[in-house]
């Protein structure tokens, strides 16, 4: 293996890791799609109650790793994962662990807003309902309303909860998807380029929301926008060609990258 391609874990522990509890801990993770290796020997710690951003050029493996964290890659028959990934010290690739329950604990927001073609209310209520989180109609209402409130959408939709989720604007749809994700009370929220389909105003709105949500959740966000990573995240990980090149406090990465590739990328020399 080429020396320049070996994973460089930041020599000093990022300060955000030191300040917070480590929520997700990955060690020596390799991901294969058939014969093709998408992620090489990746190790990373992700702090709780903070926003961690994965940046890197297209095809570098950041989305793949995100999908490994809630075992969404299981749905791809050819995908294979080795190494360990622990959430709160529990290996999520343990055979005894039910991936469906894991996904309830590790919610996900996708690149393109994908509300169910059902009412706004039903969109949010679906998760709590299948997991039996609400004992009564009142409790379900409470969960739905508070989720919409926490996603900053409640005031905009409270008069039309029965309207289809797809009738909302793009930004509203994405917030609805966030509300849907937090309705099942997850510990981790994974966001795969959540603003890439949105205009700047809607993006700003989502970023504010992410900032608020980090009080309660461990948030991991994949983004192509370095400004976004700089704005919302506390920890930044730079991926390149399937390798995790550099991890560090966001301020540190953007002001003083250790690796040449990181520097080239954030200064826009490639990507």
């Amino acid at each position: 293996m080429d020396a320049s391609n070996t994973t460089v874990i930041a020599p000093s522990t990022p300060s955000i890791i030191a300040e917070r509890v480590i929520k997700i801990s990955a060690r020596n993770v390799d991901v294969f799609y058939g014969a093709k290796q998408a992620i090489h020997d990746l190790s990373i710690d992700i702090p709780d109650r903070a926003v961690s951003a994965f940046i890197g050029p297209s095809g570098c493996g950041k989305s793949t790793f995100l999908r490994v964290i809630n075992r969404m890659n299981d749905t791809i028959p050819s995908a294979r994962v080795t190494g360990t990934i622990e959430i709160d010290g529990e290996n999520i690739y343990d055979k005894r662990l039910d991936p469906v329950l894991l996904r309830a604990r590790v919610g996900m927001v996708f690149q393109k807003p994908n509300p169910f073609p059902k009412s706004i209310y039903e969109n949010v209520a679906y998760g709590p309902r299948i997991h039996g989180l609400a004992g009564s109609r009142e409790e379900l209402d409470e969960i739905v309303f508070s989720s919409l409130r926490r996603a900053g959408l409640f005031d905009e939709v409270k008069d039309r909860l029965a309207a289809p989720g797809t009738s909302l604007s793009g930004g509203q749809q994405q917030r609805l998807c966030i509300a849907r994700a937090i309705a099942v009370n997850p510990e981790v929220i994974l966001m795969d380029e959540p603003c890439s389909a949105l205009d700047p105003i809607a993006t700003a709105r989502i970023e504010e929301l992410i900032d608020e949500l980090k009080q309660n959740f461990c948030i991991v966000i994949v983004t192509h926008s370095m400004q976004q990573a700089a704005r919302v995240s506390q920890l930044t990980a730079f991926f390149h060609l399937g390798f995790l090149v550099e991890t560090g406090d966001t301020d540190e990465i953007f002001t003083n990258p250790k690796d040449k590739r990181t520097q080239d990328y954030i200064t826009g020399r490639f990507g």
């Binding site: 028959p77 996904r103 996708f110 994908n114 073609p117 299948i130 849907r180």
Partner: protein, 589 residues
């Protein structure tokens, strides 16, 4: 930059302009191919629909004879019980027959009576019986009856009979009765029949020419044989038989020519020429022999009186279509025209077509049995196809591992969709009838066979619908912690449902129009009773069409076309419903 501007300048050069013109021509040509193809298709569809409509629409109208009948309690219910059993046995043809005969008092012989009664449908008496069974209090009263006409009479009033022309005669006529029964002579003072006679002579002359030509052809043939030679005895035999034929043709030609040339000699009329009739003294004499001033023939309607008829009071009537080219004879035409003139013929919508089962009598046959049969068959098909098809599609599309086995299954499902339908019929015959011993001709078996036939279609359509649901919906469901099965059942399937329904309806429409496999399992039988369950003998619409199209009665042609119209309407409705469903639930993500 220079390169680019040079090339831009090149867009205006003559070569470039030619290239542009060529592209325009190619595009215009391509478009015209499309337009031609579409126009041809539209033309053929329009022709088909027009043809079916023209042939079938008359079948939705029926003609009846409407008259008042006194229902004699002594004859219909001599015991006076008014019980259904008694009434069911009574002779209801009697009052109808008496009434009809009363309009034509001259119809005395048994044969003519039978012919006259043939104008009425055999179902007319049954209709009257039904009416009285429903309301026995009508017995003893005079009721208005609409007696159904026979198919031939009905067809006559639908315009398939003959064109009737009629002109006032110029001379005065003297009508005399001949010694033979019903035969009369009409003598005109002005030679009113001369024109008709001349027309007949012209025809004779034409036929003489035909025979002459035939004779010439045979002579040439004889010449050829003679020069060709060959064994003497065979040659002699052949020549001899040719000579005989030539002689025969020549004689007939000469004979006809002589008759044609004798301009004033009387001529006999046969059934191959238009019928000529004289309407004198409210009688109708059918010409059997005419001279220029004299007509001899049988009375189709008896004249009220003999003797003289003044010019203008009697008429010459021609039935333009020769009797031999018609379904209905001159006598019947005369009777029907007389009834029509008395205002007794009513036309009305043919409700029986939708309420009756099949019948050997075209005027009594209806499609209800076939419609119900189709409905029951489709119900069986749907009950089996929809759950099995959708379940198979969901399993294959969402859950099955992609391996050798599922690949083979997939390929074979696609192959099954292309298997000729008759093969499914044979399978049904072997499996359902012979192995399982299910009832023959039943909607149950028909439905099972059609289910086999439609299943691949539904599976393929359902899989396409499932595949069309965007993966983002699946991911969204998985992302909130739904299991794969929950994601499919709660989200993917409801979204795929319009597509599945569309596929199912189109599959059902396919099943509705299917004939061949049903022939194999005996649904092709003549079944009068309307099926009341899926194990009753039944037939279906397309098979009914097939059965009717095979029958010799002319009236069944219209019935066939009418049944096709009904089938097409049902198919259009089903496909229309599929389109509405698709439009209504079509979603964009």
């Amino acid at each position: 930059m220079t390169d680019l501007s040079l090339r831009a300048a090149g867009f205006k050069s003559p070569v470039a302009r030619q290239r542009l013109a060529k592209r325009y021509r190619a595009e215009a040509r391509f478009r015209s191919y499309g337009v031609i193809g579409l126009s041809l298709t539209a033309l053929f569809i329009a022709l088909l629909l027009f043809d079916v409509a023209v042939k079938g629409l008359p079948a939705f109208v029926q003609h009846s004879l409407a008259f008042d009948i006194a229902l004699d309690p002594q004859k219909l219910d001599p015991q006076g019980t008014r019980s259904s059993a008694n009434l069911a046995e009574a002779d209801f043809l009697q009052p109808l027959r008496d009434k009809l005969l009363s309009y034509f008092p001259d119809v005395s012989t048994r044969a003519r009576r039978k012919a006259l009664l043939g104008v009425l449908s055999t179902g007319a008496a049954d209709d009257l019986r039904e009416t009285l069974l429903a309301d026995p209090s009508l017995i003893g009263r005079t009721v208005k009856v609409e007696a159904l006409l026979s198919d031939d009479a009905d067809l006559y009033f639908k315009g398939t009979g003959t064109v009737i022309t009629s002109e006032a005669a110029t001379g005065s006529a003297s009508l005399t009765q001949l010694p033979e029964e019903q035969r009369f002579t009409v003598v005109s003072t002005e030679g009113d029949f001369a024109r008709a006679l001349a027309e007949i002579k012209r025809q004779l002359s034409r036929r003489a020419d035909d025979f002459q030509a035939g004779a010439e052809r045979l002579r040439a043939e004889r010449q050829r044989l003679e020069t060709a030679g060959g064994p003497a005895d065979v040659l002699q035999k052949n020549l001899k038989s040719l000579d005989l034929k030539i002689g025969e043709f020549q004689t007939r030609a000469t004979d006809l020519r002589d008759r044609a040339l004798a301009a004033n000699a009387p001529e006999k009329l046969d059934s191959t020429v238009p019928s000529l009739l004289a309407e004198v003294n409210s009688g109708l004499i059918k010409a059997e022999e005419i001279a220029s001033d004299r007509l001899t023939g049988t009375a189709l309607l008896l004249p009220a009186s003999l003797g003289l008829a003044a010019p203008g009071t009697w008429r010459l009537v021609t039935y333009e279509t020769p009797e031999s080219s018609r379904q209905i004879g001159d006598q019947e035409v005369a009777w029907l025209e007389s009834l029509k003139r008395q205002g007794l013929i009513r036309s009305h919508f043919n409700t029986r077509f939708f309420t009756a089962g099949d019948s050997r009598e075209p005027e009594l046959a209806g499609i209800r049995g076939a419609l119900i049969g189709s409905l029951l068959t489709l119900m069986v098909t749907l009950t089996i196809c929809l759950p099995v098809g959708v379940a198979a599609a969901i399993y294959l599309e969402e859950f099955a591992r992609k391996n050798r086995l599922t690949e083979i299954i997939e390929v074979n499902i696609n192959n099954l969709a292309a298997v000729p339908s008759i093969v499914f019929g044979l399978l049904g015959l072997a499996l359902f009838l012979n192995t399982f011993g299910l009832p023959r001709s039943a909607a149950l078996v028909g439905g099972l066979v059609l289910a086999l036939l439609v299943l691949p279609t539904i599976i393929i359509a359902s899989r396409a619908a499932l595949k069309a649901v965007p993966p983002s919906i699946r991911e969204a469901a998985l992302g909130v912690g739904a299991s794969h099965q929950q994601a499919v059942l709660h989200h993917v399937l409801p979204l795929a449902m319009p597509g599945i329904m569309t596929g199912t309806i189109i599959g059902m429409a396919h099943a509705l129009g299917e004939t061949a496999p049903l022939l194999m399992i005996g649904m092709v039988a003549f079944i009068v009773d309307i099926p009341s369950g899926i194990t009753d003998s039944a037939t279906v619409l397309p098979v009914q069409i097939y059965l009717w199209s095979d029958l010799p009665e002319i009236a069944f042609q219209a019935k066939t076309a009418a049944a096709i119209i009904v089938l097409l309407v049902v198919l259009f409705l089903m496909n229309g419903f599929a389109i509405v469903l698709r439009r209504r639930f079509e979603r964009r993500w």
